[in-house]
Subunit: 359 residues, 2 copies
Amino acid sequence: MPAPSKKPPSAAPPASASLPTRRGRASGGTTLLEVARLAGVSAMSVSRALNAPNQVSPSILAKVRAAVDATGYVANRIAGSLASRRSRLVAAVVPSIAGPVFQGMVQSLIAELAAHDHQLMLGQSGYGTQEEDALLEAIIGRRPDGIVLGGVVPSPAGRRRLAASGIPVVETWDMVADPIDMLVGFSHEAIAATVASFLIERGHRHLGFVGGNHERAARRARAFADAALNRPEGVPASTVVVETVVAPATVRSGRDALREMLQREPRTDAVFCSSDVLALGVVTEAGARGLRVPQDIAVIGFGDLDFAADVSPSLTTVRIDSTRIGQLAAQFIVRRSQGLDVDHARVDVGFSIVPRESA
Amino acid sequence: MPAPSKKPPSAAPPASASLPTRRGRASGGTTLLEVARLAGVSAMSVSRALNAPNQVSPSILAKVRAAVDATGYVANRIAGSLASRRSRLVAAVVPSIAGPVFQGMVQSLIAELAAHDHQLMLGQSGYGTQEEDALLEAIIGRRPDGIVLGGVVPSPAGRRRLAASGIPVVETWDMVADPIDMLVGFSHEAIAATVASFLIERGHRHLGFVGGNHERAARRARAFADAALNRPEGVPASTVVVETVVAPATVRSGRDALREMLQREPRTDAVFCSSDVLALGVVTEAGARGLRVPQDIAVIGFGDLDFAADVSPSLTTVRIDSTRIGQLAAQFIVRRSQGLDVDHARVDVGFSIVPRESA
DNA sequence: TTGAAAGCGCTAACAC
DNA sequence: GTGTTAGCGCTTTCAA
C-alpha cells in the first residue's frame, strides 16, 4: 500500500476503479466523484445532472444517468447540505403526537414538505422546560430550513434562542400576540366566546368547560367563562364551572371530569370540551348516569375528529382546518428557504361549529 | 478588502475577531473556530469539550464554556455528521400517522432516541409504490443511522435498495419470514388464531372479520378463517365472513362494514376487527340496529387504544406493547451506530387478549 | 454548457 | 491532555 503522506489534494488518484484508501478513513458508498469518473465527466456535471437537469446537455445527462444506475448511487445530502447551507429538513415540535389534535397538521406537513423535496424531523416537548430547551438546541444544531411549533409555547430563553438562530419559525394553533416570526393559527378566545353564545342561545344556563392543564386551555376557559357571564344581549348570567384534566385528553379523563363537575354543580346542562376525545368521554359518562344527550346535558367537542360524526349521539364540535395549517406552514418555510419573501405570514385560518346531535 | 486568491489553506487567518470574509461565501453563525479563538484554544479542544468533556482539562473546559455562552454557539451537526459519518438521525416510515395504531410506537421511538441524542425523521408511505420508493431514496440520501419500518412492506426494489445501503433497518409490527435486517414484531397469524379460538370457545359459530385492504390484514383474515374452520378439537366448523374496509380505519368504515356483513350473513354473532376504531364503529352500528353487545353480537378490537376501556360497552381487544416495540427498535439502532453488535435482533413482543364487556 | 478550485464546519487520526 | 493535519462529499464561485 503506497502511503504518500503529504500529497497535495489536487492530484487526482489514478483512474483505477479501486476505492480511495486514504489514511484510514474508510469510505462509505459510491461518491459523486466516482460516478463522475465512470461517466467520464466532471463532478460538477454530475451534480448538475442530478439537481438541475435542464442546465446540462442531453449527452452528459445520459452518461450520468447510466453511471448512476450502474452504481446505485444515492447522493449524500449531508454533504450537500453543508455545502449549500440548505438542509431541506424542517423540524416540528408538538406536545405529544399521542393526542389526535396535531395529527392532521403533522400529516399534511409531511405530505406538503415531501412534495417540495423536504423532510420532517419530529420532536415531542411536554416533558418540562429543561427537556424542551435541549430539544430546541438539538434542532437548531441541525440547521433545519424551518421550525414549526404546534401548540408549544417555548420558554423565554427558548424564544430568544429561536429568534437568534435566524431559522424561519412558524407558530401554529394560536394567534399569539407577539410571534417569533410567522404564524398560522386561530383564536381560542373567539372559539370559546362563540361556543358560549351558541349554548346560551339554545337556553343553557349552567355551562361547564373541560380542558387540559396547560396555558392555552386556561385561556380558552377564561374566555368561555367571560363570554358566558357577560353576554352583550343582557341574557341572565349563567353559572360556569371549569374542570381541568391532566393531559393527554382521554375518554377516561372526560368521564372523570363530568363526574366531578356534576358533584360541584349538579345543574350543569352543557359542557364544552377542548377535544372530541374528552367529549366522547363526557357523553359516555352521561349515558352511564342515565342522562340524555342533548336533552339533559349538551356536549360540544373540539377538533371534528374522524369519529365525531359517527358515534352515537354524533358530536357537535368545533372544526379547525388542520390540514390547511400544515400546508401553509410548509409553504411558508419552503418559500423562505428559496429566498423568496413571504408576505401573508400571519394567517388566521378560522373555525366553524359543526352542529350535530350532542348539542 | 484583501483578496488573497490562492492562499494555501494551512495559513491561519490573523487572530482578529473579524468574521472570515472569504470569496463571497457568507458564513452562517458562529463556528467552532471562532469559539476556539475566543477561548484561546484549538478547535479540537472545543470539539472535545463539547462532545467528550471528560477528555479535557477543567481549565480548558471552563474557557470553552465561557466562550460558548458568550457567543450562543450551537454546533453545526451537519458538519459533524459529515466528518464523523454518524448523522444521529433515525428515519421511520409508517403508512400514515393518522391511524392511531403506530402512534405509540412513534412516540416511544422519539423519546428513546432523544434519550440517546438522536432525532427522528418521519415519513409517510401509503401513497403507492412510486412515492414510497422516492421516500426511501430521500431517506437513504440523508444517511440516517437507522431506518424503522412500521407496517410497511417495501417493494422488492425498495428492499434491495435498503439492503444495499448498509443502513441498519428494523422492520416492525410483523414477524416477516425474511427480514431485511432486524425485526421487532408479533405474529398476526397467531393473534388471529387465538382470537378465533377465544370466540369459538365462547360458543360463537358465525364469525366475521373486518380489516383493511392491505396485505397484512389479508393474511390475518386468512389465518382467522383457517383457525375458525379447522379447529383441532373437532368443534363443528363455523362460517366466516370477511369484510374489507379501505384504510384508514374509521368509526364510519366500521359501521359500514357491519351493515354489509349482516347483509351477507345475518347470523353473524361475533366480529374481530383489526383496529379498536373499527370495533367502536361495529359496536355503534350494532347499537343503532338494536343488537346487544355482546349477547347478540360479540366484538373484539385490536390495539387496546386509550378509549377501549372507557367506552360503553368497554372493548375486548388485543393488546400489543407498542411502546416496547419503539424502544427496542431505537435501542437496536443506537447500539449498532455505536459499533456494537446487536444479538437478539429478531424479537417477538407477543400479545395478549384483554377481556372486557364487548366479548 | 462545462470544469477547476476552494471551501462548507466539523472530527478522525496521528503526533507531541 | 492538546494540537496539527487532512479530509468527510458535496456545491459555490469563477473562468473558459
